[in-house]
């Protein structure tokens, strides 16, 4: 194996994994505050389509990403209002958000399917994805705000009793998660595979959700998990292209199996769940109770 080949493989792994890191870290922050948002896939799709359409109309990459992130804020804001103020069930609302996002993105993008655009180099975003993970890790474990956010996710009643605004913190966490998912989507439609196609995220939102569990709610582990997933996917492609006889199907499903194994392992021990999962995850917060 030549050094160019290895560098090439690493480049492809980095490009392919970055959207998972963005969506995974966004969802992690949301879940750390005690809210489970299953709408990742839908928000990614809406982020992808708004970025693409904005780019086609304005020709400006900056606006494209800005509008996309704004769309993520709006989508997740809608979710936040429903689950935080109207106390709707988080799981059902999140699923509805995904279904809504799939439909909305298809509708918004109908006229723009097959419009050719010039893709943007992915490298800025690849580096940014590492920066954001280390920033979030620092934020959680080295800052007071991070501690408060985690406290809200662990026990909202205690946090409330101490005078922290549970609703406000959760709202902001959800918006952050939404904007990261939209960023992941816009990265896909503008850098990774520069085009708009309905449903083009092809299930990456669900993988991001699984990654958060796989990472047992730790930021650096989201990064590691994402790279295990991306790495296995790209490496098995390389092995196939080298003509090695090996079961490609197995490696296609390997990351999913790994997630299930981790799920089984952490759920087999109640203490381990308590140590890792935010204790108030999916539990609605009623003020004054």
């Amino acid at each position: 194996m030549s050094i160019e080949l290895i560098i090439g493989i690493l480049e492809i792994i980095l490009i392919a994994t970055t959207p998972l890191v963005f969506a995974g870290i966004g969802e992690l922050v949301t879940e750390k505050s005690g809210v489970l948002n299953l709408g990742v896939e839908g928000m990614m799709l809406v982020g992808a389509v708004t970025a693409f359409v904005t780019l086609v109309i304005t020709g400006n990459y900056f606006f494209a990403f800005l509008i996309s992130i704004l769309s993520g804020v709006i989508m997740s804001g809608l979710f936040a209002i429903l689950v935080l103020f109207l106390m709707s069930n988080q799981i059902a609302t999140g699923l509805a958000l995904t279904i809504f996002g799939i439909g909305l993105s298809s509708m918004l993008g109908k006229e723009y399917i097959g419009t050719p655009i010039d893709g943007l180099s992915p490298w800025f975003f690849v580096i940014f994805s590492f920066v954001i993970v280390f920033f979030i890790s620092y934020f959680f474990y080295k800052t007071k705000m991070g501690l408060i956010l985690r406290a809200v996710g662990e026990s909202h009643n205690s946090a409330h009793a101490l005078g922290y605004s549970v609703i406000k913190i959760r709202f902001l966490s959800i918006l952050f998660g939404g904007s990261m998912c939209a960023l992941a989507g816009s990265y896909i439609s503008i850098c990774y595979a520069p085009m708009w196609q309905e449903g083009m995220t092809a299930g990456r939102g669900w993988i991001a959700l699984a990654l958060v569990v796989f990472a047992t709610w730790k930021p650096e582990r989201v990064l590691i998990g994402a790279y295990i997933f991306g790495g296995v996917t790209i490496l098995q492609m390389n092995l196939q292209a080298l003509g090695l006889r090996f079961p490609g199907q197995f490696f296609s499903m390997a990351p999913y199996i790994a997630t299930i194994v981790v799920l089984v392992l952490i759920s087999s021990n109640r203490l381990r769940i308590k140590l890792s999962a935010p204790a108030s995850l999916t539990i609605p917060f009623y003020k004054g109770r």
């Binding site: 298809s106 097959g114 085009m195 196939q240 003509g243």
Partner: protein, 355 residues
């Protein structure tokens, strides 16, 4: 009395007239969105052509993005339940689901694309895409400088394996040292993964990308890397003008119009249709004159003529399998039965078909 007769006559005209004009309903099940500019797009082009040909005698609907699992049963049943007379299920892996629903609706006609099992009310139809693969292989043999072809395959079904073999046989005839690198992505539709596969193949030295997946992401990746590519299912030149050599286009319209007309006329019967270039079901996109020498384009056009008049067949013996056994004797062509069930690589291709 005359008034009464007029009344009755008017009544009859209205009653039977309107009954006669009741349009037949034609439904389609799509694996992807009609906007994929690939497989599903071409089925939708076919559907629209059918509508334009038959006018008011039919109406048509489609359900898009139907996964190849139990969801497909629900989608097909939904169409059958809502009074559709003819239902096209346009992906190979809808086979069991189509037959499951067809059993419960003996009066509804079903057409399963690329399938091989028929029933009284289930016909199958497909196009001989491998004829186009032969031409692509010939072009690739001439155009590749590294002698390495990158092939993005979807699922290990005969249809895809046949395309790989037809491509390789033609390419190896031009350049016996040609190497094929094949990546199975186990999806029809995932622009990101398709781009990953293309980039992986290019990274490993392929300078021509062939795809059997549904979006133009591989062609785009080829354009970016400065190598050549063949599009899939529809003409994809506008997305990658500096890479796109040609595409195999699937032309379903005339078949759909034919079958819908048969339902309108009440002459529909089950059967198996497998047409190719001679019937216009498989068409090559305009060859890229900027990238290909005129002599090569002429050769490709001559091959089209040969395939159409039957003097040229992609699977003409001697053909050996990987174990070195003669599977098609010298001078003979592979029978359709062998082509339909093809699950082995021919001699010269590395690796093995995933089982």
């Amino acid at each position: 009395m005359i008034k009464f007769i007029t009344f009755i006559a008017t009544f009859l005209v209205f009653a039977f007239g309107s009954a006669k004009a009741e349009p037949k309903k034609v439904g389609f099940i799509y694996i992807g969105p009609p906007g994929d500019h690939g497989w599903t797009y071409m089925h939708d082009v076919g559907r629209k052509y059918m509508e334009s040909q038959l006018g008011d005698s039919i109406t048509s609907t489609y359900i898009e993005n139907v996964p190849e699992n139990a969801d497909a049963v629900r989608a097909i049943r939904k169409l059958a339940d809502s009074g559709h007379d003819l239902i096209f299920t346009t992906s190979f892996n809808y086979m069991d689901q189509t037959h499951e629903v067809a059993k419960d609706f003996p009066d509804v006609k079903f057409e399963h694309a690329t399938g091989y099992i028929q029933a009284d009310n289930v016909a199958t139809y497909s196009a001989r895409f491998y004829e186009g693969r032969m031409i692509e292989g010939h072009i690739a043999g001439h155009m590749s400088k590294t002698g390495t072809i990158g092939y993005i395959a979807s699922f290990p079904i005969p249809e895809v394996v046949r395309g790989i073999n037809a491509f390789y046989l033609a390419a190896a005839k031009v350049n016996p040292d040609i190497k094929m690198k094949i990546i199975w992505v186990f999806t029809w539709y995932d622009p990101g993964k398709e781009a990953d596969a293309a980039n992986t193949l290019i990274n490993q030295g392929a300078d021509i990308i062939v795809q059997h997946t549904d979006t133009y992401a591989p062609c785009q990746a080829a354009q970016k890397a400065g190598v050549f590519a063949f599009g899939q299912a529809s003409n994809q030149e506008e997305f990658c003008p500096d890479a796109h050599l040609t595409s195999i286009e699937d032309i379903w319209g005339p078949y759909y119009a034919d079958r819908a007309k048969a339902v309108v006329d009440g002459t529909w019967s089950s059967g198996d249709t497998w047409d190719g270039m001679d019937k216009g079901m498989v068409v090559m996109s305009p060859y890229n004159t900027k990238l290909m020498p005129a002599s090569l384009i002429q050769e490709a056009v001559n091959m089209e003529v040969g395939i159409k008049d039957g003097t040229l067949h992609p699977f003409t013996g001697p053909i050996y399998n990987q174990a070195g056994e003669l599977v098609v004797p010298d001078g003979e062509v592979a029978p359709d039965g062998m082509l339909l069930g093809m699950n082995f690589y021919v001699q010269g291709i590395d690796g093995e078909v995933p089982q």
